[in-house]
Symmetry: C2
Subunit: 344 residues, 2 copies
DNA sequence: ATGAAAGCGCTAACAA
DNA sequence: TTGTTAGCGCTTTCAT
């Protein structure tokens, strides 16, 4: 069945497309009779407006593009879900792309998305990305861009991020609050900045509680795998004065730390308390369940989507557009690995 | 900066848009001089074709719509990733929607996607969905639809599914091959059919190995949570003759079974061997690591995407379109919970 | 209350 | 080799 157009209806009724168009969107000056006839014909012919034609005419696509490093990732699934929910509620659709953490692919997909005619772009930078010219370029074409999670201060754009500093601070304070005085940190790399902020939060918490910063208690994970977590934990426990608590930059690292500790015969949390970051579902299922700091993925997605849609609308109405940085708090989820009672 | 159009270039050069259009897509009959001039002007003005105009003209959007019950789900993430990879390689974009397992929302989003003008639709039916008229309707408008994972024989369309029967058969045979003779199954509900097929595979494996089907060894999970898995496992172990192996319809159920078994002092796999379905990442991290049957999510996404794109092209070229049902095998991942050596 | 016509930006058959 | 023209399907101003 061929798609019905306005002209099909017009011809069937012996009137013009203009009249049909008006009847369909109940314009004031239209006779009840023609309106009925048009509606009936539209129904009968299964008429639906051609979206491309409408959008070409109105110069608005009602589609936003999203670029994440990796679709298959619990955090990004959450974010995407938040983005989609907000966008759909406002009649927008979401086109999804992944950069696979590659700078070159990020450039390619952002350009493809622009070429597809999206009204705006939501981007989480890849780990490889240090320059943001490809995004500045898009902005130069009046395409609003909002960054989330992994962002860059280089780009003059709205952004939504987790409060990693607060997360790191809370995790460390929590361990100290348990009475631990030798708190180690398995940190991430300086770039991207997210994990660096967690490290700063760790340092700030030590300072705030009057504990010394001991460089031998800080090891830098470059792979951020559980194997690395296990290896570094063995290294920490081999110190003359081993730590009595470990804050891992990520749950993968924390899981590795847990298995290493168990293997070394250390009790968790009695001998060594442990906390991770991200709050993967696994954390709750391990033995003991691992405490973790939950990132507000869904909320980040919603917020980013809201900011972008606002900018799209502001742009269309030629209103001034002021960028906003939203920092959403991470939430401490205490479980047995840093259990309050057992740990003291 | 306003978007440059063909006319901008044409005016700047004192030629017509047709010539510009041709120069830009290196048509044969075009003078080297004008071609250079056009290219230079296009570059200077940052010209990019307006996607909506191109697509309206060519009646092809190069966008496909995807409907999944839930974006935040490891299996669907895999599928989506496969879909996106294939689509992007062919210059198509992917619009993502979720039905939240609700029939009404599924209808709404499929219609929204049609209204957005996608070239085709990839749908995983919600658990609530029993009727498929909303999809037949789309097909009637020449919109190709390909189902995946949760499909319906009611719809005359291509489909891509996991071989759940084979997965259930393999899991059960594996347990029997370990020497187990009292194999229980924590099954799913009859609808959707996926888990029913696993159950049928279980039954077939019993029969194939000459073991009796014992109804008291089969319990139906309606919530499919780990709490339910734990409760049913306690129920199984309270039987006069408790099972020596359990095949759980899902990893969540298997995880619950594992914790119940440990709590009851049963050794896994020595006393009771255990296997789940889906191969969640957690499985490998638990103690003992749980064997599971992996669903080929990424491959399903790729295949579904390929089938849909093929149908879109066939439709455009008015070629006959023959539907295809692709059944992809599930893969047994043996771990310690059904460890070959320890279990005998 | 309705029609005629222009135009969104692009492509392509036909002319010259 | 380039221009002219028509048209994709729709909206909207201007005229009637």
């Amino acid at each position: 069945m061929k798609r019905a157009t306005l002209r099909d209806i017009a011809q069937a009724l012996g009137i013009t497309v203009a009249t049909v168009s008006r009847a369909l969107k109940n314009y004031p000056d239209i006779s009840a009779a023609t309106k009925q006839a048009v509606l009936a014909a539209a129904e009968r012919l299964h008429y639906a407006p051609h979206p491309l034609a409408v959008k070409l005419r109105q110069q608005a696509y009602k589609v936003i593009g999203v670029v994440v490093p990796d679709i298959v990732h619990p955090f990004f699934s959450d974010v995407i879900s938040g983005i989609v929910d907000v966008a759909e509620a406002q009649g927008y659709h979401v086109i999804l792309s992944q950069s696979n953490e590659q700078y070159a692919k990020e450039i390619r997909v952002t350009q493809m998305l622009q070429a597809t005619g999206v009204d705006g772009l939501l981007v989480c930078l890849s780990n490889e990305t240090t320059r943001v010219d490809h995004l500045r370029e898009l902005q130069a074409y009046d395409l609003p861009v909002v960054l989330f999670d992994k962002v860059s201060p280089e780009l003059d754009a709205s952004a939504v991020v987790t409060n990693d500093f607060q997360g790191g601070y809370d995790a460390t304070s929590h361990l100290i609050g348990l009475g631990r005085r030798r708190v180690a940190h398995l940190k991430g790399t300086p770039h991207p900045q997210n994990t660096q902020r967690r490290y700063e939060g760790y340092q700030a918490a030590l300072a705030a509680h009057g504990l010394p910063f001991r460089p031998e208690y800080v090891l830098e994970c470059t792979l951020v795998t559980h194997e690395e977590g296990a290896a570094f934990t063995r290294q920490l426990m081999a110190l003359p004065e081993p730590p009595d608590a470990i804050f891992a930059v990520t749950d993968a690292v924390a899981i590795g730390a847990l298995s290493a500790l168990k293997q070394l015969g250390q009790r968790v949390p009695e001998d060594v308390a442990l906390i991770g970051f991200s709050d993967w579902e696994v954390c709750a299922l391990l033995d003991p369940p691992i405490s973790s700091v939950a990132q507000p993925g869904y909320a980040i997605g919603r917020r980013a989507s809201e900011l972008l849609l606002r900018e799209i609308i502001a742009l269309r109405e030629e209103q001034p557009l002021v960028h906003e940085l939203a920092v959403l708090d991470a939430e401490l989820r205490v479980r047995a690995s840093s259990g309050g009672s057992a740990g003291l």
